[in-house]
């Protein structure tokens, strides 16, 4: 089945999507259901009527990302934010199938920071899949992180979807020649607006691994990739950039349904290249502003965060899989209404949506 054909797959409403959002989507897809006054009832009645074209079971998972913990204990503002996200996820009913941690658990890659993060994350009730970010990696080149959380590159299957976790923050060695200390290297990598910084890559070795991993996956199996940096080229000056993005996209493009979820950018961010859909994750610590150029047109930009409210523009999120294997993404912005970026909406939008998110 081509991606174009699949675009017409009817949308199924899911728990957690507002009635307004649901109705709007139902109308756009030509499905009218008699009002019974309750969004969950709509979902049930619709699910009975719509033929599920693929065997993918619907489910939901949550993500928490970019906590940037410092070695300042649980009272530090960033630690309190991560604890808040963990409590929010634990309060979900129903519980998500699993939680993805999107990278940058630590700020300076210190063992103490990662220990604090591991301790807070251990409170999560659902299973957690970990991903690595550059802040976790460049003090000791991932030694402590690997010791705590295992291999940063792996894949798993869940309810018909093939999930792949990549380390996308690999940077060519520029530190040995200049005799940088581990902390110098870390601070250099931690500065987003570093004009002397080098761009991230997935790297040749991991691309080989990815190619091999995908070789046993059927082309009509939905694939979801987790990467820390966006697997496209957003804004090089702030290192919102993955230098071998096209090569990675080339390995993914034969698959009919591909979603990439990435951390790092700390903002509501949506892109679609060919049929691959990309979503940025929120940070629990702070929001980055939008880059001066290169913002993908599918992005529904969030308004500028209020500097007087430390939780504004931050939060966590949910990903609902839909029967065709694509996803609807919900940004749970603390202090604002949730922002839903549905797969259907991405397909039908020609211009970026400018309505405010609160």
């Amino acid at each position: 089945m081509s991606a174009k054909k699949k675009d017409k797959t009817p949308y199924i409403s899911l728990p957690g999507i507002s009635r307004r959002e649901f109705l709007k989507t139902a109308v756009t897809t030509g499905i009218l259901v008699a009002s019974s006054g309750c969004a969950s009832q709509y979902s049930q009645s619709l699910a009975e009527q719509v033929e599920i074209k693929q065997g993918t079971e619907e489910f939901m998972f949550a993500y928490i990302s970019d906590s940037h913990l410092l070695d300042r204990g649980k009272e530090h503002r960033f630690a309190r934010s991560l604890i808040k996200a963990v409590e929010d996820v634990n309060a979900m009913d129903p519980q998500p199938d699993f939680v993805l941690y999107g990278g940058d658990l630590a700020q300076l890659g210190l063992r103490e920071e990662l220990t604090l993060g591991k301790e807070i994350i251990a409170e999560l009730k659902p299973k957690v899949h970990m991903m690595v970010g550059e802040h976790d990696w460049y003090f000791d080149m991932g030694e402590a992180w690997k010791e705590f959380f295992g291999n940063p590159t792996y894949s798993f299957d869940h309810k018909g979807i093939h999930f792949i976790v990549l380390n996308s923050v690999i940077v060519e060695d520029y530190w040995s020649e200049t005799n940088m200390s581990p902390m110098d290297r870390m601070l250099f990598m931690a500065q987003l607006d570093n004009p002397k910084g080098r761009p991230f890559t997935v790297g040749k070795e991991q691309r080989g691994w990815l190619s091999n991993d995908l070789s046993s996956v059927k082309k009509d199996t939905p694939v979801v990739i987790f990467s820390h940096s966006p697997l496209y080229k957003y804004y090089k000056s702030w290192n919102f950039w993955t230098d071998d993005a096209e090569e990675v996209q080339g390995l993914l493009s034969p698959f009919e349904t591909v979603t990439v979820l990435h951390g790092h950018t700390h903002q509501v961010l949506t892109n679609k290249i060919d049929h691959i859909v990309f979503h940025g994750m929120l940070s629990t610590a702070w929001p980055w502003p939008y880059a001066p150029e290169g913002i993908p047109k599918y992005t529904r930009q969030m308004n500028r965060a209020d500097p007087f409210n430390q939780f504004d523009g931050t939060g966590w999120g949910k990903i609902h899989t839909i029967p065709n294997g694509n996803v609807n993404k919900t940004y749970n912005l603390w202090g604002r209404n949730p922002t839903v970026v549905s797969y259907d909406r991405i397909l039908t939008e020609r211009e970026p949506i400018s309505d405010p998110s609160y």
């Binding site: 410092l70 530090h76 702070w286 308004n303 209020d306």
Partner: protein, 238 residues
Amino acid sequence: MKFLLKALPCIFTFLLALITTTNAEVHTPGRMDRGIPSHGEKTIQVVTACDGKKKVIVEGYYEGEVLPEEKARQTAHLLMDLMEFCELEITAKIPESEMVIQLSVNGKPFISVKNLEEIPLVLTHGGTPHSEREKRIWEAEMDRVIGEGYKIFHDPTLGANGISCDMCHPDASNTHPETYPKFQTQIKKVTLLREMINWCIENPLEGKKLAEDDHRMKALESYIISARAGKKIEPGKH
């Protein structure tokens, strides 16, 4: 352009003054003719403007001597025009015989101005054009202060909790220095950029605010203003 418009009446007056002065040699009787004793000194008359800072030296006349009406009128016009330019102390010398005006600004040695259009430029630069060395020093100093600001902006030790300015403001984005002073709703008063910088230092960074004359404040302001120069304002977005 504005300067040129201002300069035109002055230039015109200078021309008239010079012509008159030159002509005066021919038509105005010499001092011996007027019965004033010579002391072997050059005869000059100094006329001072009401600001006390602008003076015109009219050669060929004794102090206190009544100037011919036309000469007096041109001298007064010259003073008025000089006063248009700036607040500096300016002395203009109208020589008896040469078609040049000599200017001294803030007590510096007189310089000759042959092309009258040069006068506004000469006055702007305080009587001496900038040398390449001066320009290099000023640029280096400016870069030094901005560079110091860049370092402080990226330094978590400005605060107390490990957070630095750049973590929310890469390349000083979202700082909008060009919009200050403005009424900052949350602070409930008209706020200067430096007050907002101090708010960030005290709150997200949990540090101690800087004194207004602290060199770090000057450096931070310099970096932020230079980094945002010419950037498009998009309220609510960046």
